[in-house]
């Protein structure tokens, strides 16, 4: 085909007549037979599995339907949700503090932060949850005062203070803080040292520099793994059922302990966890775009908009617009 479009010297009719006239040719794509066979096999297997589940009388879809929107299950859902949110907020706040302490030049602060991460990341979460649940057996009273004196400002009975919900929140939050601090520390380290120097040279103090210059940039690195952690946290709340914190899983267990319909109720739990996890992934992509401002990827549109407007607009956004002029 290339020969027919090549320039031909004028007045050489003999050369022109030698060439075949351009014609339309049919393109035959490569046939991927293996793909077809694999797809058919996979769909067959999946249909079989779905069929066996749908027809399995032990699954009791009627019971699943009955409990899916039951009041007790709904109460558990609410507890699971606020427990997840509160534990993540606690983890983020404490995690940031520990991350900053681990970067401190003060050896005491550094050691404390390191020890915290060592303990809370080094023991199983299940053990920590049960520990907090039974803290009353370790300390009968909680006091706030001056150590090694008899000066006391506040005193309370441990069991009345550490309800299962509070114990669950502390266990999940403190454990997660250890992991969050490492993610945040990595985020802070990812920001170029020159940013701090530029902020200092403008007269910013270290605290303002961290808050205003370093952390917003670190967020770009922090958000994706923290989104992961949030999803993990949502599911890990199921562990607090061992101290009956009345979360979704606790209440599910309460129900099947009475009616012995273990499988249908586990299906109810799975459906709700799946729905909640799906909902959680939306704010993550929003946050990623929010903190990606000013980077090469900030031209990205939201996944939803891309779906609505088609891929052509995405190409245009990434290409050279008025924003890419050089001067």
């Amino acid at each position: 085909m290339a020969a027919s479009t090549a320039p031909v010297p004028a007045g050489t009719d003999a050369v022109r007549s030698d060439e075949a006239p351009p014609q339309d040719l049919l393109v035959v794509p490569v046939r991927h037979w293996g793909r077809w066979i694999a797809a058919v096999a996979a769909v067959t297997a999946l249909t079989g599995l779905i069929g066996s589940l749908a027809n399995n009388a032990n699954l009791h879809w009627d019971i699943v339907g009955h409990y899916l929107f039951a009041g007790l299950i709904f109460d558990g859902l609410v507890t699971t949700l606020w427990l997840t949110a509160a534990a993540m907020v606690l983890a983020l706040g404490l995690g940031t503090l520990i991350a900053v302490m681990r970067r401190s030049t003060n050896p005491v602060l550094y050691s404390l932060a390191t020890a915290f991460v060592w303990v809370f990341r080094g023991t199983p979460l299940l053990v920590q949850i049960i520990f907090w649940g039974y803290a009353g057996a370790l300390y009968k009273y909680v006091m706030i005062g001056v150590p090694f004196t008899h000066i006391t400002f506040l005193q309370a009975d441990t069991n009345s203070l550490l309800t299962p919900a509070v114990a669950a929140l502390l266990a999940l939050g403190l454990n997660e803080a250890a992991y969050a601090s490492e993610i945040i520390r990595a985020g802070i380290q990812s920001v170029d040292e020159g940013q701090t120097e530029a902020a200092y040279s403008l007269g910013m103090r270290p605290a303002l520099t961290m808050r205003r210059i370093v952390l917003p940039q670190a967020m770009r690195v922090i958000v994706p793994p923290m989104g992961n952690e949030s999803i993990n946290m949502l599911k890990m709340t199921a562990l607090v059922s061992v101290i009956s914190a009345h979360d979704l899983m606790s209440n599910i267990q309460d129900v099947y302990a009475q009616n012995y319909q273990v499988i249908p109720l586990l299906v109810v739990a799975s459906i709700w966890y799946l729905i909640l996890v799906t909902l959680l992934s939306f704010p993550q992509s929003w946050l990623e775009r929010r903190y990606g401002r000013g980077t090469a990827q900030s031209g990205r549109t939201s996944p939803l908009r891309r779906l609505l407007t088609g891929s052509a607009s995405r190409l245009r956004v990434l290409g050279s617009g008025p924003n890419h002029q050089k001067g």
């Binding site: 940013q195 530029a198 040279s201 007269g203 103090r205 210059i213 001067g327």
Partner: protein, 256 residues
């Protein structure tokens, strides 16, 4: 000789990183309104000395003052008290710095980069700071780029925003650390033009640079450094055209 204190005065300034002596006793004076260009091969300590001036690096020995104030310390009798964070930051406000790699804040637009410190550090009124920032961006020829993020600007534009950002704190001294070394050759001219204008307006400047032509044209003093010492300094006519030291001659013959 006048009795005004020099803007920058260094006596026997020393600095080492571990066992490596980077500055081995620097003596240097920069008078008000003067432009001092620091020249020399890489590793000669010129950037380190520049960073000592606004206390990004701590001086190990010697005496370094900016506008009569000791950098990083307060002298009381025979004792030197290390300055607190707050006081160090307070003094840095008066010293603008421009970096080789620009170091603009990538999550802020050009305008936000310029007006952030006046608002957050100096406590300026936000509307007034915005007007000032727009004027400064206009001064460096980037009025139409105010809403752009650094990633959307060329290197030369970024460096000019960085100069505007430093000027926004109304410094009495500007430090330039190889401001054109990371730029494409065709973009160097715009940045040098802004610096030339700044010098003409009477700003006191200390410039670490490899632009010999710029130094010859703009500098009041050219300082040639090598291996942590000042080899020779004086008017650029003399240091750059007819150097006394063999080491200076060798360096100049290589870069010119």
């Amino acid at each position: 000789m006048t009795v005004t204190t020099p803007m920058v005065h260094a006596e026997g300034v020393r600095k080492h990183f571990g066992r490596l002596d980077v500055l081995k006793g620097i003596d240097l004076t920069v008078e008000r309104g003067q432009v001092c260009c620091l020249l020399g091969p890489s590793g000669s300590g010129k950037s380190t000395f520049l960073r000592c001036i606004n206390h990004l690096e701590k001086v190990d020995a010697g005496r370094l003052t900016v506008d009569g104030d000791l950098v990083g310390y307060r002298q009381q009798g025979s004792k030197l008290h290390e300055l607190r964070e707050r006081e160090v930051a307070r003094r840095r406000r008066d010293i603008g710095m421009v970096f080789q790699r620009f170091n603009l804040f990538p999550h802020m637009t050009a305008l936000q980069n310029v007006m952030d410190a006046p608002v957050k550090v100096a406590g300026a009124d936000s509307a007034q700071a915005r007007l000032d920032a727009e004027r400064l961006l206009d001064r460096v020829g980037l009025a139409d780029r105010a809403g752009h993020y650094p990633a959307q600007l060329s290197g030369g534009q970024q460096q000019r925003v960085a100069i505007a950002r430093a000027l926004a704190m109304k410094p009495k001294l500007m430090l330039f650390d190889e401001p054109t070394s990371a730029l494409d050759p065709e973009l160097v001219g715009d940045v040098l033009q802004v610096m030339r204008q700044l010098a003409a307006d009477g700003m006191t400047m200390v410039v670490v640079t490899h632009e010999i032509a710029f130094a010859r044209e703009v500098a009041d003093t050219a300082v040639f450094m090598d291996e942590g010492v000042v080899v020779e300094s004086g008017p650029p006519r003399q240091v750059l055209a007819d150097p006394e030291q063999e080491r200076t001659r060798t360096f100049l013959s290589k870069v010119l």
